[in-house]
Symmetry: C2
Subunit: 354 residues, 2 copies
Amino acid sequence: MNTHSNYPVKAICQRTKDEAFVRQSLLTKPAGSLGMLETIAIQLAGCQGQICPTITHPWISVFAADHGIAKAGVSAFPSVVTQQMVLNFVGKGAAITSMASYLKADFEVVDVGCDLSTTDLLSGTEGLIRCRAGNGTANFIEQAAMNEAAYQIAFSAGEQAVYRALEQGADIFIGGDMGISNTSSATAIICHYTRETPQLLVGAGTGITADQKAYKADVISQALRKHQSHLIDAKSVLMTVGGFEIVALTAAYLTAAKEGLPMIVDGVIASSAALCAYAFNPAVKDWMLFGHKSVEPAQQALFDYMDVMPILDLRMRLGEGTGAAMALPIIQMACATHANMATFEEAEVSGKEK
Amino acid sequence: MNTHSNYPVKAICQRTKDEAFVRQSLLTKPAGSLGMLETIAIQLAGCQGQICPTITHPWISVFAADHGIAKAGVSAFPSVVTQQMVLNFVGKGAAITSMASYLKADFEVVDVGCDLSTTDLLSGTEGLIRCRAGNGTANFIEQAAMNEAAYQIAFSAGEQAVYRALEQGADIFIGGDMGISNTSSATAIICHYTRETPQLLVGAGTGITADQKAYKADVISQALRKHQSHLIDAKSVLMTVGGFEIVALTAAYLTAAKEGLPMIVDGVIASSAALCAYAFNPAVKDWMLFGHKSVEPAQQALFDYMDVMPILDLRMRLGEGTGAAMALPIIQMACATHANMATFEEAEVSGKEK
């Protein structure tokens, strides 16, 4: 256990990881020819403490919340879509629920703070988990997105999701997001850590125009300038420009790494949470696979900063955990080849000529 | 049916493809946010003539053959590895057989012409399909790789594989290759069509050094110069610098496109065959998905030339059909989201604001 932090991370088994590395070199293929499949299997061997790791019980939690920054007009969709999509998740009509069925993954959706103040579509919804930090965050142009009490509720939403997953025997955790305007929070967080400008990192989000993009970048720049003196550590960054679902995802990643549950990180929103978890304790990276490179430019800046490589690049930009879910079969097939291929010796195949 | 060729290709249903395009725009997600999943589902809708296509019965044929060019010392592995790997396929110890099991795909391996003249490990092997064009090709530095009779046998090996697949009810075809030194043939073919130099397109193959790479590029350059006047059409290109397994793959692709069976093209060897099939009749492209971008530089040149985009880039360079097999779950999940997601209307989700 890495305890050099208030957020301890379980140590991976380096010895098993080394043994898995050796096994890869014995399998009937030119060395390195399975590319990322090799590194994935080796990483998971270290996580599971098994030379041949297996991933058979995936778990997906989607965290939904609203954003005060939406009032600044940074999104192409109205905020009520957050609630409407929550109902769509519960009704299994969304992209991530189609994928969860295909993958035979456990799926749940958590309301961490949808804005029910003017419209409440969620009341009495069966199967929806509620751990609400408020009616959306405050508009972070004007003030910090959330106070300490709200932060704690959102944090516990993420923790609880991982403990539910573990209780059901999950062996890999996928966190997803839903929250109109949340690319603004994610981009602000990523700009803060990578020191890139919002002008460079703001993308099309759900589909805004070039003018709207320039405006969105301005809004984020202003907010980062205004709050500069308060952005001290990961917690203050999250409380100032984050979102409830981003806090929940950060907490989920910290908890998964503490309990030794590997995870697949999704697109730019989930990655901004992974970045905060990394700021809390860099050792979380050992437990993370990055599923997909979003079209959003902020994510590449984050990959460079964290020195990680995403598994897929399918030109997706949806969130919900979809980019992570798409990577699951790749990870399972990495484990399958690692475990089931014969060695040169077993198959009596000649090695490389000198 | 496109009959402007001796190699007719079944016409896709443009109307169904258009309807699938419309369906994508109605699903509960920002337009375009599922990236390649959208284009994959739309393409397959056109192939199957169904707005919501399904892929449930994958078929994998691996074609194995030896190469006279191996005598020039262009590979890191000895030729006998081709036969040894055939036995490894039959014994289910290879990367592609591990993947086939995971994917619940039908799998077969076809000996199109392993060199049994000095060592015969394959005699009496149960479960191995034999359609042999010879004991490997001739060394194409010295002479054409094969004569007309051998070409016809190799071609029929590919045709027959597709008819076996269809007979078993397959709805997607994956072709793989095994043949020590076959990146030399593939690179020669791709250089011929793309007009790039071997110096630019030769890669590390199974793992050769920088010096060996320079030598391999020279060998291919010399051969292309020597045979220049004979490289008239796809058939002559295949007969002159191709390989038996590359001819078989070309024939398989032409046959699949003729019979209306979609296919996933593998790495650089399979892609060189796809390029030959495309030279025979460009309409084959409608039936092709490209599974994976190989580390071999020749493949990117080919993608640019054919104007296609690969689904995956996992830094693999193994062949055997593995890059195509890895893409299958992505394709199936593209179909699953396309078919199972709710529309904005069904889910009562608000659309984009004006």
